[in-house]
């Protein structure tokens, strides 16, 4: 056989290598696009909010007078929301994940649950808002209170927590389970003593990410009807409330009424982003710390 002209191959080679280099550069640029957008976005909100973030802003209630307005109400509301959403989704999500990963394993039941969960994860958040409006606010008569918002938000992020917990459980190598079963441990003993401790860091990482999603969601809360003006801080599950993203929403659209409100919106965005950043950094820290354990 002598079909391949090595000379020709050598001659073409520089061109092929050059193409590869150019593509590499282009694709790298494309990867950096995200970074550029991020930088522009941060620049935009930081310049818009310059000088507005101070202690007063963080600790005052909202006001028409932009100079005196603050976000303590939204912060308190956000915290109240998290107090319910966190434990509730953690319990439900991890329990569901354990059920699917450790008990049903394979078969129709699991396929049914998993299909349901993955579809639920794809349902637009505004539709969850409608569910909350119809069931919690109206049917159960709660009104647009903390509990209604928290339950709506919990259902919204539950699929995320379930999927993250499932992945965490799946990442626990099966030889650890085998070792435990091999000792005569029952299923629940194995889960409690071996599987859950091993999966905990990843579960926590997933939880934090789910929480940061819940903190940033706006649409479902608007749908359940958060008032545009609300001053007293919520102090219980049945109080009206507002949260950071909703505050941003109202200030953004009210900016035409009073241009300074746009700066307040930007300032609130900065606060929200800082919170998200802290949460995500924590998640990454946990992930890195426990990454290579098996």
């Amino acid at each position: 056989m002598n079909y391949i002209d090595q000379e020709a191959v050598s001659r073409q080679l520089p061109k092929r290598i050059a193409i590869n280099k150019i593509i590499r550069g282009l694709f790298f640029g494309s990867t950096l696009f995200g970074l550029v957008v991020l930088a522009v976005l941060l620049y935009d909100v930081i310049t818009d909010s310059w000088g507005w973030i101070n202690w007063n802003f963080l600790t005052s209630v909202t006001s028409f007078d932009a100079a005196n307005a603050g976000i303590i109400g939204a912060i308190t509301g956000t915290l109240w929301l998290m107090i319910i959403v966190g434990p509730l989704t953690m319990i439900l999500g991890v329990a569901t994940a354990i059920y699917l990963e450790e008990y049903v394993k394979e078969g129709r039941v699991r396929t049914f649950f998993e299909t349901n969960i993955s579809n639920l994860a794809g349902v637009p958040s505004i539709v969850f808002g409608l569910l909350g409006l119809t069931v919690f606010v109206r049917m159960l008569g709660m009104g647009s209170v903390v509990l209604a918002g928290a339950l709506t938000m919990s259902l919204l992020v539950l699929p995320i927590v379930i999927v993250a917990s499932q992945e965490a459980l799946r990442a626990v190598p099966s030889y650890l389970r085998e070792a435990s079963f091999g000792m005569g441990a029952t299923r629940w003993q194995t889960i409690k003593n071996v599987v859950l401790p091993a999966a905990l860091p990843s579960i926590l990482t997933g939880m934090i990410l789910a929480m940061s999603r819940a903190i940033g969601e706006t649409a479902p809360l608007i749908a359940i009807g958060i008032p545009a003006l609300l001053i007293p801080l919520p102090s219980g599950l049945f109080d009206s409330f507002t949260v950071l993203p909703v505050q941003i929403y109202y200030w953004t659209i009210d900016a035409a009424l009073n241009a300074e409100l746009a700066s307040l919106a930007a300032a609130t965005i900065v606060v929200l982003l800082v919170v998200m950043f802290i949460l995500n950094a924590t998640a990454i820290l946990i992930r890195n710390k426990f990454q290579k354990r098996f």
Partner: protein
């Protein structure tokens, strides 16, 4: 160093005992016409095999022939795979373990298992060994300490870890981990120990240590060991079963298998014609 002396003790003790006891050795496990399917894959065909008390049975055969599957049927760990179907009977000390009412947790307490890859829990050395007794309800700290110490001694690793009982087991070397897993097994005082290629992930030195340990444990336990290393089988086992494509091609005294096999496929395998 203490290892070496232990080994010599073991040899001195065991060799004669092995020969003397030959006649009266009881059958611990007996397998009758076992067939196994993973979904539609027929992985075991009509397996018939016995395991005697205080003997080492080696299982050899090429990759995928069903060695691991077989020993996992013995403590029903194979059921951890979804969609497994087993037919036939396996008697452990006279009881059919595939009987519905047979309590599988109890079986697994009586039958220890050591895996191919050392699989300590991500816990301290102490907690690894204490795990079994704890889940079976032993809470007394003193007693646990005693059990841990004796088990680690039994697995010939006490001297190496006695000062690091509270350290994470992942910090041990591969060979130490494997012996720790054996100690973990011993802590619940099993009757039988199943080993699935326990040395295949180990370096030559650690392999040697584990082999010696197996020889020593034989005095008290019945051992079934899967290995892909034929020389290892020849060195440490009393009987050898040769598996091929899910069937037992030949099961006999180790000497016979290696010196004078009945079946030409056994010979081909042993002489390295395939696998």
């Amino acid at each position: 160093m203490s290892q070496v002396s232990v080994k010599q003790n073991a040899k001195v003790e065991l060799q004669p005992q092995g020969e003397k006891a030959e006649a009266k050795k009881e059958i611990v496990y007996s397998t009758e016409k076992v067939n196994l399917w993973y979904g539609k894959t027929h992985a075991l065909h009509d397996i018939e095999l016995d395991q005697r008390e205080q003997e080492v049975t080696a299982i050899i055969g090429p990759s995928g022939c069903g060695k691991s599957t077989y020993i996992k049927t013995l403590n029903r760990m194979v059921e951890m795979n979804p969609d497994v179907k087993v037919t036939g009977k396996i008697y452990y000390r006279g009881q059919n373990i595939y009987d519905r009412r047979f309590p599988v947790e109890e079986l697994r307490t009586r039958v220890g298992m050591v895996f191919q890859k050392p699989n300590p829990f991500p816990k301290s050395v102490f907690d690894n060994v204490a795990y079994g007794p704890k889940i079976h309800g032993i809470r007394d700290k003193k007693l646990l300490e005693q059990i841990v110490e004796e088990s680690l001694k039994g697995a010939a690793i006490w001297d190496e870890v006695k000062d690091r009982l509270q350290e994470n087991a992942f910090g041990l070397s591969g060979g130490q981990q494997q012996r720790l897993c054996i100690a973990r097994c011993l802590a619940v005082e099993p009757d039988v120990i199943l080993m699935d290629e326990p040395t295949s992930a180990l370096d030559p030195k650690s392999t040697l240590k584990v082999e010696e340990l197996v020889q020593e444990l034989k005095a008290k336990y019945s051992i079934m060991i899967v290995t892909h290393n034929m020389q290892q089988a020849a060195r440490i086992s009393d009987r050898t079963a040769f598996f091929l494509n899910g069937e037992v091609v030949e099961f006999d005294k180790t000497d016979t298998i290696f010196s004078n096999p009945n079946d030409s496929r056994t010979e081909d395998y042993i002489t390295g014609r395939f696998g």
